[in-house]
C-alpha cells in the first residue's frame, strides 16, 4: 500500500498510455485508456498531503516526483476526472496511437501538477507539449501540420524561457524546490521575468495567445477536448503556485478576458469560439491569482475545476457535432436539435452551468470568483471582469448552442452522437449538477467541492499565507451572492435576445478574423519569402560585390601596415611606434576608468 501511495498518478496514465500505443486489440486498449484515470484516482486517494512522496537524485539535485497539497489536489483531481470521461468519449475511435498518446498527454498534465519541484514540472510539461503536438498532427491536414509546427515553436520557446528561469533559481539557491519562491517574490530577480514569460505563453496571455485559437480548430475531434483545457489550466496552476498576489497579473487577466471574448463573439468556427472562450476564462482565473487573497485563490481553483467540466462538456458537444455533421462552422449549422436532441440537451446543461445558474457548477464557482475579485480589485478591473463574464455567457452559453442547435434550419441532418459520447457528456452534466447541490448532507454537494479548495482546510500551500483570511462561511446560495451573479447572467441573456431582434447589432464573420498572429503568419512570412526571393536573384551579385570590397580593404591595409607597408619606412616608422604607444595608453586609461 505504501508503494502505491508513492506513485504519481500521472505516471500511471503515462505508463498505461505507452502500453496502449502498442496494443492492437481495441477492447484491451479501451480498458487501458478508461482504466488508467481510475487507477490514477485510486492512487491519489492514498496519498498523504504535504510530504514528498517520491524523489530521485539527478545532477546532484534531489527531485521530488510526487507531492500532494491542497493547491495541486483539486487541479489533479479535475484532470483525472476529465481524462476518465474523455476515455469514455473516445471509445468509438479505433486509433491505436491516438488513444495512447491522448492518455500520455493527460498523464503528463497530471504528473506536472503533482510534481514537487520545478524541474520535474518542466520535464512533464515538455512531455505534454510533444504529445499535444502529436494530437494536432494526427488530424492529418496540411493546415494541422502547419498549426502544429507553430504550436511547437511557441511551446519550445516557452520551455527555453522556463529553463532559463530555473537555471537562475538553481544558481542562487542550489535547488529546484518550490520552497525557493522567495527568489521570485518580486520582479527584481531575472528568474521571475523568465518564468513569467514562459507561463505567459502556456497560459495564452494577450499577444502570445494565438497558438490556442490556431490549434483548437485544427486538432483531431477528440484531441480538441483535452488540448486547450489541459495546457492552459496547468499554466494557471503554475501561476497560482509561483505568482500569487502579483499585481501585474490582475491587469493582464482583465485585459485577457476582455480582448479574447470579443473575438469569441464573432468568429465562425465553433471550436475557435470555444478556444477564445477558454482563453477569456483563463484570463479571469489569472486575474484572481493576481489578487492572491485566499478567497481569490480558491476562486481561481474552483473556476479552473468548473472550466474543466463545463467547457469540457461544451467541447465534447461541439466535437460530437463535428464528428457527425462534418463541420463546426456556425454559419453552416443550425436546427440540429431535430436529429441530435440529446447532444443539444447536454450542451445546454454545460452552457447553463457556465452561466452561473444556481444548482449547476458555475452557480457555486462564479459567485466565488465575483466576490474574490470584487473584494480587492479596482473599479476598472471589476468592469473588465464583468465584461469578460458577460461575453462568456453571450458567446459560449447563448450564441454557440443557439447557432448550432436552434438557429435557422440548415437542413443538415446528422445522426445523434454515438452512445459512448452521450454517456461521457451525460456523466459530466450529472457530476456538475451533483457538485452544485446545496449541502443537505454534510460533505456532499458544493460543501465537498469547497473542502477541496486550496485555502480551505488541510495542508495549505505557501500561496495561502499571503493573508490570513479564510473561506469559512461562504455560502453561494445566499441571496446576496446569487443575485449578483444572476444580474450578469440575465443581463447578458436579455442583450442576446435584443441582438437577435436588432439586426444592426449583429456581426458574424464567415471567414477569418485577423489577430496578432497576422504579424508572423502573413507579414513575417511574406517578408521572409520576399527576402529569400531578393537574395536568390541579387545574392550572387551582392556576394561578388562584398568580396571585391573586402579584397580592396585587405590590400589597402596590407599596403599600409605590413612590414613592407608605408608606415614601416623612414621617419614614419618611429611615428607609428609613438602613435601605437599613445593609442595603447588611451585604451588602458579608458579600461581603468570604466572599472
Amino acid at each position: 500500500m505504501a508503494l502505491l501511495a508513492s506513485i504519481n498518478p500521472g505516471f500511471v496514465l503515462i505508463a498505461l498510455g505507452l502500453i496502449a500505443c502498442f496494443v492492437p486489440v481495441r477492447r484491451v486498449r479501451n480498458i487501458l485508456t478508461v482504466g488508467a484515470p481510475i487507477a490514477g484516482l485510486s492512487v491519489l486517494m492514498l496519498a498523504e498531503r504535504g510530504l514528498p512522496l517520491a524523489s530521485a537524485s539527478v545532477l546532484n539535485s534531489d527531485l521530488v516526483l510526487y507531492y500532494v497539497d491542497s493547491l495541486n489536489f483539486i487541479f489533479g483531481l479535475g484532470f483525472l476526472l476529465l481524462a476518465f470521461l474523455y476515455g469514455i468519449y473516445a471509445l468509438h475511435r479505433d486509433d491505436r496511437l491516438h488513444d495512447g498518446i491522448a492518455t500520455i498527454f493527460a498523464g503528463s498534465a497530471v504528473a506536472a501538477v503533482f510534481s514537487g519541484d520545478w524541474l520535474s514540472l518542466f520535464i512533464f510539461w515538455e512531455i505534454g507539449t510533444i504529445s499535444a503536438a502529436f494530437l494536432i498532427f494526427r488530424s492529418g491536414t496540411k493546415a494541422a501540420y502547419q498549426a502544429g509546427m507553430r504550436f511547437l515553436g511557441f511551446h519550445i520557446l516557452s520551455g527555453v524561457l522556463f529553463l532559463d528561469g530555473l537555471i537562475y533559481v538553481y544558481k542562487k539557491s542550489g535547488s529546484f524546490s518550490f520552497t525557493e519562491v522567495d527568489l521570485i517574490s518580486s520582479f527584481e530577480h531575472p528568474a521571475a521575468k523568465y518564468l513569467l514569460a514562459a507561463l505567459a505563453i502556456k497560459a495564452a496571455f494577450p499577444l502570445v495567445h494565438t497558438w490556442l485559437k490556431d490549434v483548437a480548430p485544427k486538432t483531431t475531434v477528440l484531441g480538441g477536448v483535452l488540448l486547450p483545457l489541459l495546457t492552459t489550466i496547468v499554466a494557471v496552476y503554475a501561476l497560482a503556485r509561483l505568482f500569487p498576489g502579483f499585481d501585474i497579473l490582475v491587469w493582464i487577466g482583465a485585459v485577457m478576458a476582455v480582448y479574447t471574448v470579443v473575438f469569441a463573439a464573432i468568429v465562425d468556427d465553433a471550436r475557435r469560439v470555444l478556444a477564445y472562450g477558454q482563453n477569456a476564462l483563463t484570463g479571469l482565473m489569472v486575474c484572481a491569482v493576481g489578487i492572491g487573497t485566499p478567497l481569490a485563490l480558491n476562486a481561481a481553483a474552483a473556476t479552473a475545476f468548473m472550466s474543466l467540466l463545463s467547457i469540457g462538456l461544451l467541447s465534447m458537444g461541439v466535437g460530437a457535432v463535428l464528428y457527425n455533421a462534418g463541420t463546426a462552422r456556425l454559419s453552416a449549422l443550425g436546427g440540429l436539435w431535430r436529429t441530435m436532441p440529446l447532444t443539444a440537451l447536454f450542451v445546454i446543461m454545460g452552457a447553463v452551468s457556465l452561466s452561473g445558474m444556481p444548482l449547476f457548477l458555475g452557480g457555486v464557482t462564479l459567485p466565488l470568483l465575483i466576490e474574490g475579485v470584487g473584494d480587492h480589485a479596482s473599479l476598472p478591473v471589476q468592469l473588465g471582469v464583468i465584461f469578460g463574464l458577460t461575453g462568456l455567457i453571450y458567446t459560449l452559453c447563448l450564441r454557440l448552442p443557439v447557432a448550432i442547435f436552434f438557429g435557422e434550419d440548415s437542413r443538415v441532418r446528422p445522426p445523434e452522437a454515438p452512445f459512448n459520447m452521450l454517456l461521457a457528456m451525460g456523466l459530466i452534466a450529472a457530476l456538475g449538477f451533483l457538485l452544485a447541490l446545496p449541502g443537505i448532507l454534510r460533505g456532499l454537494g458544493y460543501d465537498w467541492l469547497y473542502q477541496l479548495l486550496p485555502c480551505s482546510a488541510g495542508v495549505n500551500p505557501q500561496s495561502c499565507e499571503v493573508t490570513e483570511v479564510s473561506l469559512t462561511g461562504f455560502k453561494p446560495y445566499q441571496m446576496v451572492h446569487m443575485t449578483t451573479t444572476l444580474q450578469v447572467t440575465f443581463a447578458a441573456t436579455l442583450f442576446f435576445l435584443l441582438v437577435k431582434r436588432l439586426p444592426f447589432l449583429q456581426s458574424r464573420a464567415r471567414g477569418v478574423i485577423l489577430d496578432t498572429d497576422w504579424v508572423y503568419r502573413k507579414w513575417g512570412y511574406d517578408t521572409a519569402k520576399w527576402s529569400g526571393q531578393v537574395w536568390g536573384k541579387a545574392g550572387p551579385a551582392l556576394s561578388a560585390l562584398a568580396g571585391r570590397i573586402g579584397e580592396q580593404v585587405f590590400i589597402r591595409l596590407q599596403e599600409t601596415f605590413s612590414p613592407r607597408g608605408k608606415l614601416a619606412y623612414g621617419g614614419l616608422n618611429n611615428g607609428a611606434a609613438i602613435w601605437s604607444a599613445v593609442l595603447l595608453g588611451f585604451v588602458m586609461g579608458v579600461v581603468l576608468l570604466s572599472r
Binding site: 493546415a143 470579443v262 463535428l322 455533421a325 462534418g326 444580474q487 440575465f490 442576446f496 435576445l497 449583429q506
Partner: protein, 125 residues
C-alpha cells in the same frame, strides 16, 4: 430608381428564381426524443416571450439585489450595478464586433487553410 418587378431584374429581363436545394424538412427524419425535448422551440413568438420574461426576471433580480456582494467604490455599490455593467458590456461587445469584422474580416482561405476537417470526422454524410 424604381423597384424591379417580381421575377425580373432592373433592366426588365426575366431572372431564374432562387431554388432551395436543401433536402425537405420531414418529421420522420427527426430523433424520437426531438419533439418531446425541443418541439416547443418552434413557437414563433418564443423570442418575444423570452425577451419579456428575461427582462422581468432581470428587474426582479435587481430589486432583490439591494445588498449585492462587496465591491469597492461608490458606483459599484449602486443597486443593479452588475446588470447595468453587463448590459453596457454587451453593447460594447456588439459594437466592437461590428468594427472588428469590418476592419479585420478576411476570406476563409486568407491563410490558405480553409479545409481543416480532421481525419477522425465521420464519413457518413
Amino acid at each position: 430608381m424604381t423597384d424591379a418587378p417580381i421575377g425580373r431584374d432592373q433592366s426588365g429581363r426575366f431572372v431564374k428564381p432562387e431554388v432551395d436545394t436543401r433536402p425537405p424538412d420531414r418529421e420522420q427524419d427527426y430523433h424520437p426524443l426531438a419533439l418531446t425535448l425541443f418541439g416547443w422551440t418552434r413557437a414563433t413568438r418564443l423570442p418575444l416571450i423570452a425577451t419579456i420574461t428575461v427582462a422581468a426576471v432581470l428587474a426582479l433580480v435587481i430589486m432583490l439585489s439591494a445588498g449585492q456582494q462587496g465591491v469597492s467604490g461608490d458606483l459599484a455599490n449602486v443597486s443593479g450595478f452588475y446588470a447595468g455593467a453587463a448590459l453596457l458590456s454587451g453593447l460594447i461587445l456588439a459594437l466592437a464586433g461590428i468594427v472588428i469584422v469590418t476592419l479585420l474580416g478576411r476570406d476563409a482561405d486568407y491563410y490558405g487553410e480553409e479545409d481543416t476537417q480532421p481525419d477522425d470526422v465521420e464519413e457518413r454524410l
